[in-house]
Symmetry: none
Subunit: 206 residues, 4 copies
């Protein structure tokens, strides 16, 4: 019985590990090649398994992409989560800087979510997961703006919803610009510029 339990746990663990490795492989490949050029066989093999495993785990490619968006989100959240500041403005600035920095530190996985976002611009099937994600991020920004308005760090005249929309656009767009053309501007200089940009507006009418 003990043995059976162990076996069962091992099976589950093996499954989880395989799934994680498949997702990581998928992130790498999609960041490199885009969604369509990345085949399920490639993913399985990059993960160290067989061609067939992706279908076995995720059933279809669309399901994999959907699952991938969630996975990416968690991954990103984990990398951005340690915000130490305690007033709203600083929290926004820190989060923004962390977001940009994500694309400036080496590592293949980073651009994956951005690539998925870019791929969602035409009316494709995988669009919905990205849209939901965007909404959540705008809400996160809006909450921090309201927080800042309560603690006095952000002017009351700022329209939280509208600014959140613009801010997310700015960050996504600048990140994309950087991915496309990393040599056009210094990494640090870019982060400062974005920071000043945001601060100039939010602190403006205080």
């Amino acid at each position: 019985m003990q043995k059976k339990l162990d076996t069962r746990r091992t099976q589950q663990e093996r499954r989880d590990e395989a799934e994680t490795r498949l997702l990581v492989a998928a992130m790498e490949l999609i960041a490199e090649q885009g969604i369509v050029k990345t085949s399920l066989a490639q993913i399985g093999e990059r993960a160290g398994y067989s061609r067939g495993l992706v279908n076995y785990h995720f059933r279809t490619k669309d399901a994999l992409i959907e699952r991938l968006v969630e996975h990416c989100q968690q991954y990103y959240r984990a990398e951005i989560s340690d915000i130490s500041a305690d007033n709203g403005l600083e929290r926004l600035l820190e989060a923004s800087e962390a977001y940009i920095r994500l694309y400036q530190t080496p590592g293949k996985l980073k651009p994956t979510l951005l690539v998925l976002w870019g791929a969602a611009l035409p009316r494709t099937a995988d669009r919905d997961a990205i849209i939901v994600l965007e909404k959540r991020i705008r809400e996160f920004a809006a909450e921090n703006i309201k927080l800042g308005q309560q603690d006095g760090s952000i002017a009351r005249t700022v329209d939280a919803k509208a600014f959140a929309f613009a801010l997310v656009g700015l960050l996504r767009g600048v990140a994309a610009e950087y991915v496309l053309n990393p040599d056009a501007i210094g990494a640090k200089r870019l982060r400062e510029e974005v920071r000043s940009f945001i601060r100039a507006y939010l602190g403006n009418t205080t």
Copy 2:
């Protein structure tokens, strides 16, 4: 003589008309479905020709995309070109507003360039044309910033190159955000927000 002129032009005209119709069809389809899901056969047929004509004209799909980027640029430039303001800041604001507005007025062709831009994020073959285009646009922005610094409408402390980078990111990102989620914010409200955002920064230290 009239006849001869007509005759001489007709072959060339046929070719030109076909090319234009193919490009327009390609823009429509790519805006709807993205690059990869759009087949050359679809383009030919949507344009009212045969499945094979696209290859006859453009040789390869990559060549078509490259040509399409140029075509889009001209198309966009024509729509944005009438900037009436005479100082640098106002010129930038007008151009920015026109750019956002482009995605807010109906018409299938509009999102094409944005879709191409999003599709260039992974390392695909068509990437280069987009990168070149981005560079040109940043240069256009930087020139207007310098102009504004000469005519006094923009603070001398602004780093033209860095701000151009951020500005193009902002506009692209906001446009993408809007294409993905047009109902999250009012069209006019968004344009005002972007305008305030830019003005707050550029006029900041005057």
Copy 3:
């Protein structure tokens, strides 16, 4: 246990059988139509499978051709291999006669290698495999000539390398001639003629 053995072998066996059937189908079709007119879909279907299987197995058409050359060689070698004579001259004569006879006995597969050889004359991609094969065959001939010179059946004045070159040319050329025009000469008469031709030269200065 028996069952386990069976199970273990079956996947591999399925693959091997498919590969053999595909190669045989390819040999038939190429002998009939030549390389270029033979499509991969035709091969798959003649073998009793789907249109796509050839690509699944051999990846590309060039790879199939390369594999086919090896396969043909083994096939031919098996048909020619029983040379009983023990002196060099007789061994050469027997091998030569067996080679010609190969094209004189019915059976679709026989001309395949000859067709591949003919198709390699222009600078095509599949050329290399044939060239390597030719070299090996000339070496085989040269070895037997040297053997004959040691056992006294072939004159020492014969230049092994040069004669091997001419001999292989003779056999290939006569076989091709026969395939093109089987009614121009009796099968037996042709074999005798070639035999006399070779013997006249090799035994010449004894």
Copy 4:
């Protein structure tokens, strides 16, 4: 009237020149790439004309190939024709040597007929023209053998028809071997070897 005649002749001359240039271009391209990979458009353009001209002149590709075989034959005959020897054996030897030499002197056109011959090995449409040509050449050889038997230079025991068959095979085969692998043997050495080979047999029983 004179003028009209002139014009007519000029038209005819232009037509002839175009046809010749098309045929030469076709010979070059087929020697390089084989029949199937050579497109009619390529031929037209290599000849300095338009893509459409080949169809205008020859109607179909098959007709071009057929015409090409005749043209090649004339071309080859012109290069081989000056045989000065006056006894049958020497005439055969000279012709044989000239044939081999044809493939040993630089110039793209040479291998064309050989390529066409190789391409005729499977049962294709263009086969017949080649078969007819082969027959004519065997007859030419047989005539010279009989001539040699009359003038005493060739043994009466030789079977003219059978030997002609073998000889043509030898020459074709050796030429093909040389085209495939020119570095395996010296050009002069090869011609000597073939000459000795033939002489050994024909002079054998004198």
